[in-house]
Amino acid sequence: MTALTAPPTRIAPNTLRAAWRVFWYGGRMSYGMLFNWARPSIYIPTLIGGPTFQLFFFAALGSYATDRSPAYFAIGNAVQVSALAGVFGMTMAIANERWFGTLPALLATPANRVAVFAGRFMPFIVNGLLVSLYAFGLGVVFLGVRLAPGSIAVAALALLVTVFSCTAIGALQGAISLRLRDGLFGANLVTMAILLFCGVNIPLHELPGWMQVVGNILPFTHGVEAVRQAADGAGFRQVGWLIGVEALVGIAYAVLAFALFVLLERSARRHATLDVR
């Protein structure tokens, strides 16, 4: 009788190289396998068609109800549509591990948890950026959006940071969804809340005080403002602090999401509920 032995691994699991592979390949694989919308028949209607009409809807509603230009609403919504990829995508990338039955296998591996978790961000940040850039293109062509040439780099940085922070709240939602029956309920709620609380369509100072407080702790609020000011020609000196606050908000959500993920993993192991749906 011979004892079963694990096949030799070329890379020891605790090395930095192994963590990098988990981050890089695991992140890419999570996009293709866990993101339900990563196929043209869903991607195009949802992440191209949906944002297109969202932009036109709020540009029409906003310019009809207020005296602001359609471009104002186009910029806000062009940034916000990245939430479709960031929030929904990250929710699926984490919560679907459970629904597709792969969570126990994933958690049984000695893979570095930070690498597993962080790797998921990358494809959704890229995806969110693509969706936002497409929406900006629409805004430029149809809704009079103009970006000051000297501040395009600042606007791009603000957009990148905003997409990161929205992906981070998506990660938190994904971690929460590991315990919920319907994870996309929360993702929908977060996306709608961003539309209302974060200055996407209504300037923050026009909202009641408690709504401003909520807006300030959500992603997008500082990022949208930074993109708007940069589009008007503000440089990094003027909007740098907004980008910094947005980055801090994103990091806070990412840390919170990871902590919750680890907490739920421990709890599920302790109560033998890892695979309970």
Partner: protein, 262 residues
């Protein structure tokens, strides 16, 4: 089937579907929470404009409520047949002695009726949070307006159910068609302010006339007779189109032996 049995069947399926939707977190969000968020957003926008658009809070509340009705119709009906496939009940229902189109009528009406709860929620939101007065210039016509809107949206829902099933990912079509219909049917932005080529498209859509019928009875200057009539006319047209499509879809599914395949 006798007319009495038909009505009983549709009634039963309608309420059965309402109860199913009540257990769905997604539809609770779509019907009750989303309209409140959009109504709040629209209210702040109109207030931000200093009332320049001249629209009342009731206008906004009804429009936002109808947005919820459309979302519920779109998602509730768009996936109706697909869900029966996933749950394994489609073959049983198609082969039952009851006509399948009546079952589908009940199912789509259930989604629309459920959606109309959202209008009540939005009105309650307006009254409780913003002190919105509830008034109707033609209170006796209002029930007829509501009925016309429900019937026309129910028929449109049936058409959606029978056509969306041809597309593998019906929910993706739902994601695509939510905002454009909100926009071109004048739920929050009057159709008159949109480009001229949008107007004929809006005339073909039930939410346009349903909204006009309800708004006409509540804040209109004249009774909304044209809107109510158009609701019923469109309901008949949608039903015929849906019936033809359904016969085609079911015949194709039987021929290809794909009735239960996803």
């Amino acid at each position: 089937m006798t007319p009495g049995r038909t009505v009983r069947l549709i009634w039963f399926v309608t309420w059965f579907n309402v109860r199913i939707l009540l257990a769905s977190e997604f539809f609770i969000l779509t019907t009750f929470i989303a309209p409140l968020i959009f109504a709040t957003l629209a209210f702040f926008l109109f207030r931000s404009g200093g009332g320049t658009a001249g629209q009342t809070l009731l206008y906004v509340a009804l429009g936002a409520g109808m947005m919820g009705v459309w979302s519920t119709t779109l998602f509730g009906c768009g996936g109706a047949i697909a869900w029966q496939r996933w749950e394994g009940t489609l073959e049983l229902l198609v082969n039952a002695p009851s006509r399948y189109d009546y079952i589908l009528v009940g199912q789509t009406l259930g989604a629309v009726v459920f959606g109309f709860y959202g209008i009540l929620a939005t009105l309650a939101w307006g009254v409780l949070l913003f002190g919105m007065p509830i008034e109707a210039t033609y209170p006796l016509i209002l029930p007829l307006s509501l009925l016309a809107a429900i019937v026309s949206l129910g028929s449109l829902g049936m058409l959606i159910a029978t056509t969306f099933v041809l597309y593998r990912h019906a929910n993706a079509l739902g994601n695509l068609l939510e905002y454009p219909i909100w926009l071109i049917t004048g739920l929050l932005v009057p159709v008159a302010t949109l480009p001229w080529w949008v107007h004929p498209i809006s005339w073909l859509l039930a939410p346009t006339w349903g909204m006009e019928a309800i708004r006409g009875a509540t804040i209109g200057a004249a009774p909304p007779t044209l809107a109510i009539a158009m609701c019923f006319v469109l309901a008949v047209v949608y039903y015929i189109a849906a019936r033809v499509t359904l016969v085609f879809v079911l015949a194709k599914a039987r021929r290809d032996a794909t009735l239960s395949l996803q």
